[in-house]
Amino acid sequence: MKKISDITIIDDDAITVFGLRKLISSSIECKSVESYGNGKIALDAMIHIFNNDQRIPQIIFLDINMPIMDGWEFLDAFIKIPIKDKIRINIVTSSIDPFDKKQWEYYKSKSHHLITFNQKPIDRNKITEITQVA
């Protein structure tokens, strides 16, 4: 298994972020885990990283329903950044709206990144499965 260097969590719910961090740290070896409270802050950070030729996190956990900029808007902007590496983006949501499933299928087909759709809750087995380099 390839070692993961950077993981990013984009979610506005503090408890979810805490839970994910805890799950990750207890099951996966990883240098750093960053978290952002909404899509806009995260996107600004990603663009900054890209423009400074730094490394884009290999794995992104992305919530959908967030204020200011939601998960879909983030994804829409993110896949337009010309990143050569294949990034793994795990969408994590408790939504059962069929619209969200459609959105996922749309973005999956549009991008070279690996995009997965995951229903909450995420358990230990699941986190190991979806935290592998794409």
């Binding site: 408890i15 979810t16 839970g19 204020p67 939504s95 059962i96």
Partner: protein
Amino acid sequence: MLKSKNSSSFSLDWINQIPSSIVIIDTDFKLISASPIWLTNFQLDLNTIKGNYFIDLFPQLSQELKARLKYSLDGLRDIKFKYNAKDCHYSSKDSIWHFNPWKDGYGNIIGVIIKVEPITKTQELEIELNKTKYILNEKSSIAKIGSWDYNIKNETLNWSPVVHKIFGVAADYKPTLEKAFNFYLEGNCRKTIKRSVNEAIESGKPWNEKLQLQQANGTIIWVNSIGRPKYSNGKCTRVIGTLQNITDTIAQPTVKPVTQPNKYPLFEKVPFGLAIINFATGNILDVNDEFTKLTAYDKEHFLGLNFRTFINAHIKNKSVELKNQLKENGSFKSVKFVYTNQKRHNINIKMTGTLIEGLSGSKNILCTFENITSQIKLERNLKNTIASAREKNEQLLNFAHMVSHNLKTHATNFSLLLNFLNDETGKIQRSKYMNMLFSASDNLSETIKGLREIVAVKSSINEEKKSLSLNESLFVVEQNVAGLLKETNGKIINEIPETTTVKALPAYLNSILTNCITNSIKYRSEDKKPIIILSIEEEKNYTVLSVEDNGLGIDLEKYGDQVFGLYKTFHRNKESRGIGLYITKNQMEAMNGKITVESMPNQGATFKFYFNKK
């Protein structure tokens, strides 16, 4: 013994046995025989009058009798004549004489049979009436009637001077049958006259038609053409007739309406508008009363009007399509259009049309016109109801998604934290989890409170609205947000007149104002002090409250459809717009009002609240 020119001798003995009053006259108007009852009636002896000129027996009536005998010999059946006893010396009783042609075994007319019947009062009246009518007709039209005579053998046509005048040709004009036909308008009129003449020659059928012809100078007139065949030796040798210019009577179009209802007996009895249109010319021939009621115009307005013009005025270029449908299927599919009638009322009309055989075999269109205005209204109401039901359904689905999503998030958080708590032994770490559990529990309560508010709006629609002073309500709200205003150095500029009232539910008005003002403060520009301007516009049905701020504004192009929608994050972030505007919108709508927003990013927002005056 009697002899007829066309038949071998035959017995007239039967006449002695018949119980009615009958007299038989030959083609030369000579009395051949009479029944005993007839002889008794008129107190005559057969032997003394046999072979005498019948007319000579009734010298006072000779003119009238002669004319009727002639017509009868021409083949006209059941000509009635009223005999007045006081005019003659033979009989003491008034009677009705029925003239009928007498035919031999081959159908040749060899004389006239006159049957004499006692008169009844009604018959008398009827005859008087007909007579009066006849006289009136004669008087009014006598100047314009011309006669003509066509000799079949020589193919010569003679016109009286009046006929020349009617055709608009000089007195020395030499007519032929073909020339005469060509004066008649091409199409039905010409077809009718040709057919009538042919039928008269071939099957002895007389005609009486109202037709249009074009005079030599181009003027189109209506004429009444009457013709009947004349027989000689059982063969039709001549056709004679009259021609009358009836344009004046047609111009006040009484002629068609009189003739049409006979053809279509239900014409005036159906509960919808009917119109008969000449298929070839497109002229409207007749409309029924229901049609005039519908349009509020007189019948005269439509007669002679071109139907194509009528149709194209209401449905652009539709007439060609309808004509093609009629040609192909003999009818056209129902067409709906809006018609503005004489009284300036717009009515929705459903029209259908069928090709029918008109008078004298011409092709006509029978159109029905149904007023479907109330139907359309009902249909529209139904559509609105369906649309609003659909909207409600969608809202319910959104609501279900939202509820499920929100509750699931909390459940997930609870289970996550409880698992961590279970695995953890360290006291400090455990108390940290406990705190997080409390905050998760608070979030859940907040969510449920929000859901309850939505349900409350939906269920309190039937409460009574009150007239409320807007400034008083605003004052209460200002007290509530005073802390927030002070903290942000915000300012409310109130331009609402003291007297302004709105009809609203007090709790809703408070909630709406609070929501709006706190939103304006929450979404303030970082580099500006929040300023909120409240003002009033009066509209016809609404009192409109404008709330303008100088805050962040909203990118309506991006979020336009979501501003007042249920945003799924409302429970999580205190700074999110979320549920507030959704509830505000529902509250305004519950009070038969509405809410709109105008905004540009970084240029503030103006919310307008439309309070219904009713």
